[in-house]
Amino acid sequence: MIRLEGVGKHYPGAARPAVDGIDLLIEEGRTCALIGPSGCGKTTTLRMVNRLIEPSSGRIVVAGRDVTAADPVKLRRGIGYVIQGTGLFPHLSVAGNVATVPRLLGWDRARIAARVDAMLGLVGLDPALFRDRRPASLSGGQRQRVGVARALAADPPVLLMDEPFAAVDPLERGRLQREITEILRRLRKTVILVTHDLDEAIRMGDTVAVMRDGRLVQHDRPDQVLAAPADAFVAEFLGSDRALRRLTLLTAAAACRSGERPPEGAPEVPAEASLQVALSILLGSGAEALAVVDGGPRPVGTLSLAAIRALAAGLPDPSGAVARSPPLV
């Protein structure tokens, strides 16, 4: 759990605060994607959580403890930290990099070695092939995987990531976003992910927090933010195609009327496909409805254009297609 209470940062000499009284609650095991235009204070907010920047005001609670009262060096050993350029140590091997925090914590050699291999395996790098290599000999994506392995090595409950995949090529970025999201969910890490990439925020965030000029303007589930932007700024930031983006968050299975027999000759769509894909098939075929299939002998239900429309317009959703989670602060 991470809680920010009225947190602000006024850099000396700056005309106005970089971060201006933010309240933010990130539930245990959830990822919050912190998004907003460049210079709006995302990085400053993130770095106050591990005290790389001292807050000017407010309180930050991580896993029940007030970080402003903690020893910053010890605090940081319990908080994973991943940055854009990876910041891997070029003079150490991959294993040496991943072992950074366990070494600081004084683990014995055997435990560190086992942990390094487990971490490399976790992020999809064969320990036998990568353990002894230097960061300079890795691809951008591989380096970022090592960066994540290093941040997770001592099993911190909380992870801070600042534009971690911004320097990775698009294909590898998509793969990394999926794999890392899956890992973070499985390990139940509480995460703040700073990004300026809306797709990344939607893909990786359980919640999305939108910032503007040092203030938090909206914090909600991605589908909610896309369906109901808090103001004109958020709406513009999300773009005019936000209704289409929102469809990527919903599956055909969740939106279809199950059990209903599709019309004769209706095109098929896999149950796990997104509504954006379903809509594309509908538009491409000219049909009014799709047969939702899951590999079984009969279609599981019918997905109509009207149903997608109703969902996209943010109408009450009879099928409960959008997963409900506890209310957010």
Binding site: V73, I83, F89, H91, L104, A151
Partner: protein, 214 residues
């Protein structure tokens, strides 16, 4: 050439004594220059406000010719080893100090940020990350300081500091060309050895940073 060999054969003791003096003078001066320049350079990278004035001062120091530096020592400290060492330290200090600052300043800030973010204490960031990454540049500074000091130590003879300069000045005074050449060659050899030794250390430190582990 034959004269040179004959001179060397005839004066092994003199060569050994002046060589010992020259090595002691240079080694001690380099050690002190490093002992001042390294910590001062580290401290100044942590106090950027003081760095500017100090760098300006050190650059001025650099423009003073080595002979002038030695002669300035005469009225201040008299003659002998001590004033020679002080002058040579001042002579070698700029290279050590400026390269220490340049080396530390050249460490990518995101690597330092990551180190702090993982929970390394300030001294650990310095010892485990900054100094290893700055090592090639710092060693290059020590290398040029060593070569400069060994060469300048030749002049120590003018304020009674001894060393190979004795051979050269005696050779000139007595018009003894073999002795003169022997002294000059000895200085060149010692400077070359310093160059090679530190150059090797510099290459090792650079290789540690390369894509493959040494």
């Amino acid at each position: 050439m034959l004269d040179l060999v004959a001179w060397l054969r005839a004066h092994p003791d003199l060569l050994l004594r002046t060589g010992g003096e020259h090595a002691l003078l240079s080694g001690l001066s380099l050690l002190i220059a490093a002992g001042i320049g390294l910590p001062l350079g580290i401290a100044l990278t942590r106090q950027p406000r003081l760095a500017g004035p100090v760098v300006a001062l050190v650059n001025t120091l650099r423009t003073i010719p080595s002979l002038a530096l030695l002669v300035i020592m005469l009225p201040l400290l008299g003659t002998g080893t001590a004033p020679s060492v002080v002058a040579l330290v001042l002579y070698g200090l700029p290279a050590v100090l400026l390269n220490t600052m340049a080396g530390l300043g050249g460490v990518p800030s995101d690597i330092v940020d990551a180190a702090r973010g993982q929970g390394l204490a300030p001294a650990q960031v310095l010892a485990r990350v900054e100094l290893p990454l700055a090592a090639p540049v710092i060693l290059a500074g020590l290398r040029s300081a060593a070569v400069q000091i060994v060469a300048a130590a030749t002049l120590a003879v003018f304020i009674g500091g001894g060393g190979f300069g004795e051979l050269i000045s005696a050779g000139m005074g007595l018009l003894d060309t073999p002795q003169l050449v022997a002294g000059a060659l000895a200085v060149a050899a010692m400077a070359g050895a310093a160059e090679l030794g530190f150059g090797w250390a510099e290459r090792m430190a650079t290789r540690r940073l390369g894509p493959t582990a040494p």
